[in-house]
């Protein structure tokens, strides 16, 4: 589904990603872990198309095309979804209005009929249950006055409505208490599907107790230094990142 080759990216002339190689197949869940400042969130943002990052080399082939050449909205129309680490508050625009506009843009792109208000409402009623989100919040301005947990649940809720094929979760677990973490993980697990892949960026191994990944990658200083199965996460939990920081970068493209 996604093949990242030798990806380099800068922030204000400072190189943050220094040659990322990663292959993600449909149905898989990949976890990207790493210490602060390793480039995890940069990778997520670059995949979503944030223009504050400058891609200097490499490519990311998604559905046969280089993703890095396309605009963020085109990526979304093609089925990429990023759950934000810090969801933005947007006064004056309600979640339901915005999500309906987004969903219909995506449906149109897929050649499907646009949903009318009634169908959309039914869909929303079904999907809010997935993350136990209060339906009333959807008539409020996007994320305005939402608690941290509500914002993250709103991200997963949007993902459920838009049905993307590649989900990039940028530290969706950060700042959540254990109950919210369970709800969010549960929502994500219900969205696992043979045709859908996940890249789960996280700082904490704890999330992986709830979302069991197929692959774990350790990102340090802009490079993937180690890849392995879910047991790698447990090893990290025990030993921290220090033991990997001296390790040479993985020379082969990793992944399955």
């Amino acid at each position: 589904m996604l093949e990242i080759k030798n990806l380099h990216a800068n922030v204000e002339d400072h190189e943050v990603l220094k040659g990322i190689n990663l292959t993600v197949k449909a149905g898989e869940v990949h976890s990207i872990m790493g210490p602060n400042g390793s480039g995890k969130s940069t990778l997520a943002q670059v995949l979503a198309g944030r223009d504050t990052y400058e891609v200097t080399d490499g490519e990311a082939i998604y559905k046969g095309k280089n993703l890095l050449d396309t605009e963020p909205d085109e990526r979304a129309l093609e089925g990429i979804f990023m759950a934000f680490q810090y969801p933005v508050e947007i006064p004056g625009v309600s979640t339901s209005y915005f999500l309906k506009a987004a969903l219909n843009a995506i449906r149109k792109h897929r050649g499907q009929d646009e949903l009318d208000a009634m169908d959309f409402l039914n869909l929303v009623k079904e999907k809010v249950k997935l993350v136990d989100l209060d339906e009333k919040l959807l008539n409020r301005a996007i994320n305005e006055g939402f608690s941290g947990g509500e914002k993250k649940r709103n991200e997963v809720f949007q993902m459920a409505v838009l049905e993307p094929s590649l989900c990039v979760m940028d530290e969706t677990d950060s700042g959540l208490d254990i109950d919210a973490l369970k709800i969010v993980s549960d929502g994500i697990n219900k969205l696992r599907d043979p045709n859908r892949a996940f890249i789960v960026v996280t700082h904490y191994q704890r999330l992986l107790n709830y979302i069991v990944p197929d692959k774990v990658h350790v990102l340090i200083d802009g490079r993937i230094v180690r890849s392995g199965g879910k047991e790698l996460a447990l090893e990290l939990e025990e030993k921290g990142y220090a033991w990997l920081e001296k390790a040479p970068p993985a020379s082969q493209p990793v992944g399955v």
Binding site: A48, G49, R50, D51, E71, P72, D73, R75, A76, L77, F81, M82, F84, P87, V88, I90, P91, G92, V93, S94, Y97, F98, L99, K100, A101, A102, L103, N104, A105, I106, H109, A117, N139, A141, I142, E144, G145, Q158, L162
Partner: protein, 465 residues
């Protein structure tokens, strides 16, 4: 192009003609005379005058306008169709400043309520009009008010007696149709609400054809004890037109006045709103939205005078400026020595959509009491790029995202309009005035309700954080 002397001579001689021709009631003549004398002494303001620093009215001063009454025009119901709101509203239509009975439509109003043209009221309601007319708006120091007071012929008179609630909104529509001629009109309105009464008034100005005509209007409001006035002013003049408005609001104890100004079109616009809170426990809310483009210039000038203790005032003005348009906001809050426990809030937020657009914003607090709460804030900025990216990352095209955020910015202001047909009209017009506004096709981005205090609270919260 006139010089200062020629301009004075014209107004002076026109006033002379007016005095000879019109049957001005005898009680009014001294006020008119005083006003023209003051106008001739003051002259038109210049940018050297602090209050007019950012707005140059030389194009008005140098034009030899024809008094509107001299121009024949024919306006039909069809011509004004776009500006009508709801058939159930009480409607008074004025063409070039003169009342048109055939275009107006009365509604059944409670007993004792008087709604008529000012020209009629000067004859039929002499006592009331004499008591209030030109008693509040300052023609001593304000040249445009003086000019209006000297030349006013017509406008609206609204009187709501003690304890009467008027549920039907009163819509005053002022249209200009000059066929390109430079006419000047001086609409004058007087709205008097006695104790415990309530009324909603919509004042809208529209240009039916292009031309450098000039509308110089003054509206005086008197809110008696515990009275409630909900007022809206909608500006849709022609893009070449000059428009100067003074709204003078006088509030007695426990009265509640809200006045919303929505400025969509017009060439050179100056809107003054002056409020005097002259009794304890008054609330005054002044809202504004200006959406400017092309080379429009709009100056919104507020002055809230807290003369007595325990009064609240809110000022929320928002601007969206494209192209080479220019906006000016001045918000002056005066808290007199006695006015303890005053709570005054002011905010002016501007969105610049073009590098050539310009805004000058100037809060002025003059606080003489020592136990008060006054806050003010002004922002001038572009659309939040993080918000744009968020919307795009969900599949919304960039131009649609920009348009949506701009609409939402203004929509928050219009959400406070409590008369639904008016709010819907203003929201529709808003989308036509924004770039890519047609992409807003999924209905309203927000459900507006009548609980506008909620919106105020959320705006307060945002400002504090």
């Amino acid at each position: 192009m006139l010089d200062v002397k020629e301009s004075r001579d014209i107004y002076q001689s026109e006033f002379q003609q007016l005095k000879e021709a019109e049957n001005t009631p005898s009680w009014l003549l001294p006020r008119r005379q005083a006003a023209i004398d003051r106008f001739l002494a003051l002259g038109f303001p210049t940018t050297r005058d602090e209050e007019w620093k950012y707005t140059n009215v030389a194009p008005i001063a140098k034009t030899a306008f024809e008094q509107a009454g001299t121009v024949e025009t024919r306006v039909t119901n069809e011509d004004i169709g776009d500006y009508l709101l709801d058939a159930t509203f009480c409607r008074l239509v004025f063409v070039n400043g003169r009342y048109s009975a055939e275009l107006s439509s009365a509604a059944a109003l409670p007993d004792g309520v008087k709604v008529c043209s000012l020209a009629d009221a000067m004859q039929t309601e002499q006592t009331l009009v004499e008591t209030h007319l030109a008693k509040y708006a300052d023609y001593e120091n304000q040249a445009f008010t003086a000019l209006n007071t000297a030349f006013m012929q017509d406008g609206t008179f609204v009187f709501v007696p003690r304890g009467v609630i008027v549920r039907t909104p009163i819509h005053l529509l002022f249209v200009s149709s000059a066929n390109g001629r430079a006419i000047i009109s001086h609409p004058r309105n007087l709205i008097v609400c006695e104790a415990n009464s309530q009324v909603s008034v919509i004042e809208s100005y529209a240009g039916l054809d292009s031309g450098k005509y000039f509308t110089n209007t003054v509206t005086e409001f008197v809110a008696g004890e515990n009275a409630v006035i909900d007022h809206y002013k909608v500006e849709q003049e022609s893009d070449d037109a000059y428009h100067v408005t003074t709204r003078q609001i006088y509030q007695e104890r426990d009265s509640n006045v809200s006045s919303h100004t929505v400025t969509y079109s017009g060439g050179l616009i100056r809107n003054d709103v002056n409020t005097v809170l002259d009794g304890e426990g008054c609330n005054c809310m002044l809202n504004g939205l200006y959406v400017l483009r092309g080379s429009q210039h709009a100056d919104h000038h507020l002055r809230v005078d807290h003369a007595k203790p325990h009064c609240n005032s809110w000022e929320y003005y928002k601007g969206i400026l494209s192209d080479q348009s220019r906006g000016v906001f001045t918000g002056r809050i005066i808290v007199r020595e006695d006015a303890q426990k005053t709570d005054a809030k002011q905010s002016n937020m501007n969105l610049l959509l073009s590098p050539d657009a310009l805004v000058d914003t100037k809060p002025q607090l003059e606080i003489l009491a020592d136990d008060v709460k006054c806050t003010h804030g002004a922002t001038i900025g572009q659309i939040d790029e993080d918000a744009i990216f968020y919307l795009r990352s969900r599949g919304i095209r960039e131009e649609a995202a920009r348009s949506l955020l701009t609409y939402a910015f203004a929509g928050e202001s219009l959400g406070q309009v409590r008369i639904e047909p008016l709010r819907e009209r203003l929201l529709d017009l808003l989308s036509t005035r924004l770039p890519h506004g047609q992409s807003l096709r999924f209905g309203r981005p927000f459900e507006y309700d009548d609980d506008f205090s909620k919106i105020v609270r959320s705006a307060d919260k945002r400002r504090e954080t």
